[in-house]
């Protein structure tokens, strides 16, 4: 048995006061999830066009980005009817397995942050994977004003 308390390993925090609303986090998130990882090719030649998993909320002058919190008590996982969403016990990440997703949107109903996004074209959901397979979350490393920070954190928030 590989079991034990779930530890929250990391997530992206936001500093709204220094967010300039440039939406580059969305752009780079899409690039990070493109095939080429190249900002020009990703948007000009890739089909389907890559989509971001972070959203910039705006009510000017207020802007800030929000993406999956990788909750210790992930409501999206509890609501998932197929097992496509699960908490990876090793990494603490809330993972979405596209192959098992049927597009019921129970997770969209459950996510308290509204951070499980809808991919209209595929009738599936999209969420932050903390740039699994890449060196560092692109939204953080490409934010021009340091408004996004990556936090390695202990278990500190839960849904219940």
């Amino acid at each position: 048995m590989v079991l034990g308390r779930v530890i929250l390993m990391g997530r992206v925090l936001v500093k709204p006061e220094v967010c300039i609303g440039c939406h580059l986090c969305e752009i780079w998130c899409a690039v990070a999830h493109s095939r080429s990882k190249n900002i020009i090719k990703a948007f000009t030649s890739e089909q389907p066009k890559p989509l971001p998993r972070v959203i910039v909320e705006e009510r000017l002058p207020l802007t800030f980005a929000l993406s999956c919190r990788h909750c210790a008590e992930p409501d999206c996982v509890f609501a998932c009817i197929s097992g496509a969403l699960y908490k990876d016990r090793e990494t603490g990440r809330v993972v979405h397995d596209r192959a098992r997703c049927v597009g019921c949107y129970s997770c969209v109903m459950a996510c308290p942050y509204g951070c499980v996004l809808i991919n209209e074209r595929e009738r599936q959901v999209l969420k932050c994977d903390l740039c699994t397979g890449l060196d560092f979350p692109y939204c953080v490393s490409h934010c021009p004003n340091g408004a996004l920070v990556y936090e390695e954190a202990a278990d500190k928030h839960g849904g219940f």
Binding site: K15, E57, F78, A79, I81
Partner: protein, 429 residues
């Protein structure tokens, strides 16, 4: 006789929620599970997707094949629990075998309600709840040209959509005046009915079956209003009743379902219940009721698991909640279903788009969202469930609720940063 620290009767969402919680807390206690089905844990909610061909049989599995071994669970599959001796803390299986427990979870689920109709024993009459149901339907489908679905609830309508997509002539019968009546309001029901009719599915309301006719297999159904409808296949989807026979008459408190407190404990010490067989706390309604829905079963099982392992937690998560879609039109609703019949005392904030492609409705009481329906545009619906669960007073921004891109930026500063306090860093400038 074997004895386990934790014993679970059931093998679906509630059981899995319990097992996963138990193992977060207790890595050594022994766990066993009893199920009358012989299958690895699968998701009943995926039945329509399987019938449609969207997923394969393996895609129905709710957890990977090594789930039981990874979690140190001894599964007793294909075994029916026939009795519980609460004094000796033993469960009796058909055939006489007994299994002892330290803590017991009743997660027996529900069974489809079958109205006593003449002709119910004809072939090609099915329910739509188990994998066996759907495998039998799949086998029966070739050669069948028309189908009747009795029941215009979520399950019946999902069945109707799939059958229609498979080329059958489908007719839905609903005893109430509209489909989905217990789930959404009149406007949302009308949108759904329009959609089905536009896609060639007939919907007859305020009627039901009087008699099922056919030589061996069902051929037609006669309705209470005198009409006769051809039916090569009949699906009965008029609701699910809690499976409580196992504990009926044992002294455990059973109302419509097994009564539990907020720790998911029944009236008998060391015995817990969750899921479709239990009456659980609904935070929006403010009282205990049947909430036979997948997310509630999982979350209830999870809370039961923590409490069984000696980690006290309250179930404050559950309410009526549905994420459904018909012909690619999505609906998400949660909380109290406020309709024309029970709207007294509620303030309604709603918006129906002119083209009828989007409908949003919020029912407020003292400024708190008690229930909502989003139809057509459902993005970020969970924010509303969150506001509801936190009993947030929404009066300061209630007109914003119907915006299709509603988000945290629409909340007053203080409230927004209070809700996101663990997620933002303020005071940097």
């Amino acid at each position: 006789m074997s004895r386990f620290t934790y014993l679970i009767i059931g093998n679906s969402a509630g059981a899995v929620g319990c097992i996963e919680a138990l193992r977060e807390v207790d890595g050594t206690g022994t766990i066993a599970l009893i199920s009358d089905e012989t299958r690895h844990v699968y998701s009943r909610a995926l039945i329509p997707y399987y019938l449609e061909g969207k997923i394969e049989r393996a895609g129905m599995d709710y957890r990977p094949p090594d789930f039981y071994t990874r979690h140190g669970v001894t599964p007793f599959l294909g075994k029916e629990a026939v009795g519980v001796d609460f004094d000796r803390k033993e469960v009796e299986l058909a055939g006489g075998e007994r299994i002892g427990y330290g803590k017991l979870l009743l997660a027996t689920g529900g069974r489809p309600f079958l109205p006593p109709l003449p002709g119910l024993d004809r072939q090609n009459v099915f329910t739509f709840l188990s994998l066996d149901d759907v495998l039998a339907i799949e086998k029966a489908l070739p050669g069948v040209k028309n189908a009747v679905v009795l029941g215009g609830g979520v399950i019946g309508l999902m069945a109707a959509e799939v059958l229609s997509k498979k080329g059958l002539d489908v007719c839905v019968l609903e005893l109430a005046g509209r489909v989905l009546a217990p789930v959404v309001d009149e406007t949302a029901s009308a949108l759904v009915e329009d959609l089905f009719r536009k896609n060639g599915v007939k919907i007859y309301t305020e009627t039901t079956i009087k008699e099922i006719r056919g030589a061996e297999s069902v051929e037609e159904v006669r309705l209470t209003d005198g009409r006769t409808i051809p039916a090569g296949l009949l699906i009965i989807a008029v609701g699910v009743v809690p499976r409580v026979e196992l504990v009926k008459g044992t002294g455990i408190r059973v109302n419509r379902g097994i009564v539990v407190d907020q720790r998911m404990q029944t009236s008998v010490p060391d015995v817990y219940a969750c899921g479709d067989c239990a009456e659980v706390y609904d935070f929006a309604a403010g009282h205990h009721k049947l909430l036979p829905l997948w997310p509630n079963a999982y979350a209830g099982g999870r809370i039961a698991g923590f409490n069984m392992a000696g980690r006290p937690r309250k179930y404050e998560w559950g309410t009526g909640m549905n994420a459904t879609h018909f012909f690619d039109f999505y609906i998400i609703n949660a909380g109290v279903n406020v309709t024309g019949d029970n709207a007294d005392g509620y303030e309604i904030v709603s918006k129906l788009a002119e083209d009828r492609r989007s409908y949003r409705k919020f029912a407020l009481k003292a400024g708190r969202i008690q229930g909502f329906v989003l139809a057509g545009e459902v993005a970020r619906a969970g924010i509303f469930l969150h506001l509801m669960r936190k009993a947030v007073d929404v009066r300061a921004f209630q007109q914003e609720l119907t915006k299709s891109n509603f988000g945290f930026s629409d909340l007053p500063d203080q409230l927004r940063w209070a809700l996101l306090k663990d997620d933002v860093v303020l005071g940097v400038v």
